[in-house]
Amino acid sequence: MVSSWHADVVVIGAGIIGASVAWHLAKKKVDVLVLEKSDPCSGTSGACDGMVFLQSKKPGVHLALAMAGRNRFDTLEQELDADIALQCSGGIMAITSEAELTAVNWFVQEQNQAGLGVSLLDIRQARELAPCLSPNLPGATFCSLDARVNPIYLTLAFLEAAERCGTRVLSRTPVMGIGLKTDGIFVLDTPQKTIETRTIVNAAGVHAPKIGKMVGLDIPITPRRGQILVTGPMAPVLDQCLISAAYVAAKYDPAIAESGHMGISMEQTEAGNFLLGSTREFVGFDRSTTLTAVKHILAETTAIIPALQDASLMRTFAGLRPYTPDGLPILGRVPSLPGFIMAAGHEGDGIALSPVTGQLIAELITDGTTCINLTPFCLERFSNGAVS
């Protein structure tokens, strides 16, 4: 029998974004119901890295949001009363060619002008920070604000904290349809229950467009696959999180983009395993991993940290980044549909941006205003033809 429930706010999706939104609302005594189609953290938030990386962000709204987001991490463990494996030992961007070095020079200047302290190191200095780096690299950059967390622990910690404040989480409860009554009340269809609410937060990650369709909205989020490799546990050699400069440098030098080098990322978890990532592929919702990607990632990462050659490849997995055409998340109310709020499309930054996203959406719902202007993140930016 299908019974009817009510909640002040219904959050669709128990990924890191939905979980953070729920907790930030619950802290403000809002009655929240989270609906999750399978299990918490079974989507992208359970298949990603946990870097809170600032130095790679483009100066402007993106970097500003990321820096606001970064600040929240300092007190998060305490606020959540949970171990999220936060490690604030900075981040390294490894430069793998002379061409990259030139491009990165420009980049570092821009970051420092934007107020983010990034230093350019020669390889000797870089190896003092991280002796595991290959002596053959031309150099590296370092930013002490870069950090990392365990994204799964953080997602679950958000949810558990929300539940302690009274939030209800319904797992294995997919939203299958949404109706809108004349009095502005949404009616959500699930196999188990019908749920009524005045406010919906669409935090369905790569599935946000499907939720949008249920209310007649066109949401331009597409899955962008990232494959990650996990090595067996190794003695601790890398404190910092690390990316290669190729991805950033490609924005400054098109020749680098064509060289076939992709941006890779590496982090060593508290258990000693390395996470080596990741590809950026548009292959629909296919979450399988491929030999080509494995070989590519291993070739690039072992060139940066040669000791990885001794490791075992233990696991691979793939996650789907919720990609938007301009690389920025979609946040805020949808004017045509009051009561429908977007919180999705964080592409490769959802972990880093999760605390600030939750905070902003909660402010929006309870106060009507937010401490950061949400206009650059609105859904309408795509329909206005502002973005190609």
Binding site: G232, P233, M234, A271, D310, A311, S312
Partner: protein
């Protein structure tokens, strides 16, 4: 106590030697490293993830990965799946308590 664990009456391959943590032990070509270590009375092969407990082989058939050792310089090799050869060098991984 020090009874030879090698079952008598079996025709074995040539006698060879392998070195475990610097100690030379006898083995017979064809047998697995786990067998040679067992015959040499060595049961503790590694440590657990929390670094305060000792571990030895369990399944003997390549499933449990509790017998991981560094063999000829290669990390994380299963003793039970490795056939010995003369001059093989083996090290336990982590500091045994």
């Amino acid at each position: 106590m020090n009874r030879d664990l090698r079952i008598p009456g079996i025709i074995r391959g040539p006698e060879i030697h392998v070195t475990v943590n610097g100690r030379k032990i006898t083995a017979f070509q064809g047998e697995t490293l786990l067998a040679a270590l067992t015959a040499a009375g060595m049961k503790t092969l590694g440590i657990g993830q929390s670094h305060d407990d000792t571990r030895g082989a369990v399944c003997g058939m390549g499933v449990c990965y509790q017998c991981l050792m560094t063999i000829d310089g290669q990390l994380d090799q299963r003793a039970c799946m490795t056939v010995v050869h003369d001059g093989m060098t083996i090290e336990t991984q982590g500091d045994l308590p």
